[in-house]
Amino acid sequence: MTGFGSAPLADGSGEVPPVVVKLGGARAVDPAGAVGDVAHLVANGRSVVVVHGGSTAVDDLLDRLGIESEYVETPSGVTGRFTDAETMEAFTMAMAGQVNTDLVTAMKNAGVDAVGLSGVDGGLLTGPRKSAVRVVEDGKKKIKRGDHSGTPKRVNDGLLDTLLADGYTPVVSPPMFGMESESEGTPVNTDADRAAAAVAGGLGAELVILTDVAGVYADPDDPDTLIESVATEAAYDALTDAAEGFMTRKVMAATEALESGAAAVTVADANVRDPILAALDEAG
């Protein structure tokens, strides 16, 4: 695993911060170990918030509905899905309907009194909707409108605190609430890692991002380059430069979490024994 930031228990305050766990939505990630760990933490009095993705479930539903996703390329060469209205509807059904309910069910069956929330609920994750995106098509730069995406700028951590205080474990799902004006919003797609980062920042929590690899690699093709800890600014900058593709998002999420107030961030493999407890041990 890769740890970012300082160890949260070393500050001497004695205050144990909540834990935010990001569970991946890829099929390669089995949530069973994570669910057991959350149950263990909660049984020991630790406050836990789970944030999940679900891209595999979204892909499956789009496929079953015969919706062909449009993938577009940004000027800097990143490829992403364009979330039109029809895709957005399927995204909401799969994420907030299916994956969230399944995970809440698994948690409840493990003895955790889970409450599922999307980022729309109580404006939990709110930010401007991005409708227009810059894309490159046939070598031409274009503005494409009608995207449903956004980045959370405000977290309603009061809603999470209220639920945590009553012994519930919030299970948070995209979409977020994307504002189109001062007072009107709509559900929009948002990256679950960034959502988890925003939640961890809002709660001053330790963030554990579970994924299907052991951590962040300086060179993704070389397992020997796993980075164990990023403690100094220089190490951090070097990592940001080194991270590629899929890992760029994890590093960005870690950065955003720490900048917005998270106590620590660990990127760790979901498919090991006690994945969250191991990550917290390392971090704490």
Partner: protein
Amino acid sequence: MTEAECVECGGTVALHDDLEIGEIVDCETCGAELEVVDVSPPVLDRAPELEEDWGE
């Protein structure tokens, strides 16, 4: 080859024929990025600054 006026500097921007709505062209006079908001006749507007950022 058609042309249109730059909304930033008033200069003339040369445009190729298979212009599409949404396309971004650069003004060679002032360097502004301009969005094609209509094609017949061509109308240009200032292209919005947009963060590059993908959801999900």
